[in-house]
């Protein structure tokens, strides 16, 4: 039995690696996507374009503007001299933020009275606007602290000291890149498994396999193991790239990480083989994989937190293996999550894997024609 399975695995690899097109599917898109996601997919803002409309010739205003200019998060564009210029500057997206300092600013401050500055934001992209607002707020808080100290004012009765654990500089890349390990492993494993049976059906070789003494479970294993191996290689490649190229810290143990990868691959292969045993043509296999992949990725917490979704959608994500894997990846990479904490993520994936594989096996036997 194992000899037959081994022959099938060997054949599967030869077929995959000899074909120019499938070789490309295994190597090309993962690298392109790793680069594109690694560099382009980021919520971090740097050099947010801002414009200053300063009506106050005083020293305080100059200091505040200097603080904005000194921040790496902001980049100043042409100044505004009239009220009427504010709207076009925002409309044209020349600036995302306009800092408006009124004529009484310095005078009020020196009198010891609170002075206000106005920040006008382009809210079209609400996320960007919120983050830019936070940056502005931090600059003003720091300005206030300095001003209070310099002018002998009493500080506010309580102040915030903030620390971010696991990602002290709050870099989006640290969040996104470990997620890519899951994303690309899923995509490649799905394409390899979802198309494998369909391709043989289309070429007529599947019949040839079925009339050999191989049992369905042997064929299933012969199809699943290459997917597992390719998934492991792919995951390893991206992990190495993440650590060496993108400099993402890998704090947790590799053993815990690979335990997660193995269980995740089990569930991904299960879904892939299920699609494969339903699809008659490669076209259908591809469409099925696409229809699974898009919601699986979007509803996994890869780019946007699951917690922000409506409750019913959150419940729906419970059947998405990718969701659990995202937690494991980020937990092990950044938080150094120990194995016991991974267990709540592992068993649902294992359950999904066993259920889909069993279903795929059943479909194999009952959809042989």
């Amino acid at each position: 039995m194992w000899q037959r399975i081994f022959a099938l695995i060997k054949k599967e690899f030869l077929a995959l690696l000899k074909d120019k097109q499938s070789r490309f599917v295994l190597i090309g898109p993962p690298i392109i996507q790793l680069m594109v996601f690694g560099y382009a997919a980021s919520f971090d803002l740097n050099h947010v374009p801002f414009a200053v409309y300063n009506e106050d010739p005083g020293v305080a205003a100059r200091e505040l503007i200097a603080d904005f200019r000194g921040s790496p998060n902001f980049r100043e564009v042409a100044p505004i001299t009239r009220d009427g210029q504010i709207a076009p500057t925002i409309d044209d997206r020349r600036a995302l933020l306009v800092l408006h300092i009124g004529p009484q600013f310095t005078r009020e401050l020196l009198r010891g009275r609170p002075a206000s500055v106005q920040v006008i934001l382009d809210g079209r992209n609400s996320n960007t606007a919120l983050i830019a607002l936070n940056y502005a707020r931090e600059i003003i808080i720091r300005f206030n602290e300095r001003w209070a100290a310099e002018h002998g004012l009493s500080p506010p009765p309580a102040h915030l000291t903030m620390r971010a654990w696991f990602n002290p500089d709050l870099e989006s890349r640290w969040f996104i890149v470990p997620g890519i390990v899951g994303l690309l492993t899923l995509v490649v494993t799905m394409v390899v498994t979802a198309l494998s049976v369909a391709r043989e059906r289309e070429q007529g070789t599947f019949d040839q396999l079925l009339v050999t003494p191989m049992r369905p479970v042997e064929i299933l294993l012969g199809k699943a193991l290459p997917g597992l191996l390719i998934g492991l290689v792919e995951a390893t490649f991206i992990i190495v790239m993440a650590v060496l190229w993108f400099r993402i810290p890998l704090i947790g143990s590799l053993a815990a990480l690979y335990a997660g990868i193995a269980v995740f691959l089990l569930s991904a292969i299960g879904v892939g083989l299920m699609i494969s045993s339903i699809a008659v043509t490669q076209q259908q296999g591809l469409l099925g994989a696409f229809l699974f992949l898009v919601p699986a990725i979007i509803l996994s917490g890869f780019a946007t937190p699951i917690a922000n979704m409506p409750v019913i959608v959150q419940k729906l994500t419970l059947i998405n293996p990718m969701r659990y894997f995202m937690v494991i990846l980020r937990g092990v990479f950044l938080e150094g999550m120990p194995f016991p904490l991974l267990v709540p993520q592992l068993w649902p994936m294992a359950l999904i894997g066993v259920a889909t594989l069993a279903l795929a096996g059943w479909l194999f036997r009952h959809r042989m024609y």
């Binding site: 070789t205 040839q208 050999t212």
Partner: protein, 598 residues
Amino acid sequence: MTAPATAPDGDGGGTDVVLAFRDVDKTFRSGNRTVPALRGASLEVRRGRVTGLIGPDGAGKTTLMRITAGLLVPDAGTVTVLGMDAARDSLAVQAALGYMPQRFGLYEDLTVQENLDLYARLQGVSDADRAPRYAELTRMTGLGAFTARLAGHLSGGMKQKLGLACTLVRPPRLLLLDEPTVGVDPVSRRELWAIVYRLVREQGMSVLLSTAYLDEAERCDDVILIHEGRVFGHGPPQRFTEPMGGRTYAVSVPEAMKKRTLQERLADAPGVVDAVIQGEHVRLVLQEGEVPEAGRLLPGLDGIAIEPVAPRFEDSFIATLHEGAGEAAPARSAAPIAAAAPGADGTVIAVHGLQRRFGDFYAVRNLSFDVHRGEVFGLLGANGAGKSTTFRMLCGLLPPSGGELRVAGVDLRTAAAEARARIGYMSQKFSLYGNLSVGENLAFFASAYGLRGRRRRERIDWALAGFELAAVRAAPSGELPLGFKQRLALACALMHEPQILFLDEPTSGVDPLARRAFWRRINTLAEAGVTVLVTTHFMEEAEYCDRLVIMAAGEILALGTPREIKARAHAAGHAEPTMEDAFIRLIEAHERAAEAAA
């Protein structure tokens, strides 16, 4: 005919030529290899005649058609269509000719009427002209009752006729038909020829028609024989068959001897170019100058009758390939494999009341037959007759909806894996892993059948040697010529020395030489006691079977030896009916019975 390519006599002058190729070369690139499709092809097609473009698969027929239609540009040489240059004035050429590509170019999700409408608009047939034209076309093709049906739901024969109707919606001056008779049953083939001749007779149309069926050559006014991109001969069919006069004979021996055995022996006899079973005889083609001498051909046999028969096109084709192209004679068949143990009563495959339903459509209904050990058993029928469905049920690939079925005493669908180790299976399209090499395919199937160690090595060596595959061992099997693929597929199916061999259309698309070699191998296997079940739509191949069933619309029309089946047509007045005559007669009788019942 052994002469090299020559232009036909210019009896009608230059104006009479509607299509002329002059030294046309065409090469395709596939990966980093170049594949020559046409090599120095020169030919002429004359007005008002049906010219057949005859050659095996991959000979360059489709390339030639496409160059004529302006879809491809030749690398060298000139092509003149109706006085215009095909490459330069392709739009004008396309406005003047009609072209039916392979698979007929139909939109399967449009109805018959919608297909006609589309092509009428594309051909610029005005609204006023359409109605009478449609009426004429549907009458000619018999599609009148089906105008609202989706083209995809038509039978192969009706699709072919619709394809033709779409091409004829505006009568072209030159009609190009690319393999119009592939995958179409003999009845539809006959009807197509009738339509083509009517067009030529009534409208003076010129027709260029390509085909891989050699027997169709004799229906053409002119024949262009093409092989491996070269024009081998050009002229009326008689010009090909005449030189074969005195070289063709029918050999018959007393009943006791199997025809297959006789054919085997004759094929190896000295001076023999070709030996095929035809009816009750073996048809013999001798080398030029050879004399048919019973003692020399079949030493030690008595009661041999050798009679001269009229040559036919296929004889000259085989002779041309033998002599002109220097093709080697079909090799002696592969080494025989170990004989299988006989069953209790010799019955290996038993089918009783087999049924298969798809929705409310019966693909197979009430099928019963037995196959004995060492028998070559044929399943014949047109596309859609249900023979592939039957075949798949026998192999355990498809569960039957009703009835019983036993292969070597078990139902393969539910049988233990070990039972499947006793059968060999070769599917329709020679399904192999195209991007794996020949050696890798063999190694994989050897392992899949559970062979290991020394035996595995021995069998792989046996396959490489016995099927002449050693030279292409490292080549990707997908890029091999069809004949090699067929041999490789057979080798894979025989890897584990099966007792029963299932062959699904094993010779479709393969050239006549490869077909002959293939059948010799099958004969050897049958002699060794292997039971062979084979499907085919080549009627003449039925002669190789010990017994066969003819199927139509999922039912058995006839069951018996080839002689018994032909005897039915014989009664109706044919002197010596071919299997195709018998088939057509059976179908017609069946349809009449169905009409009477309705």
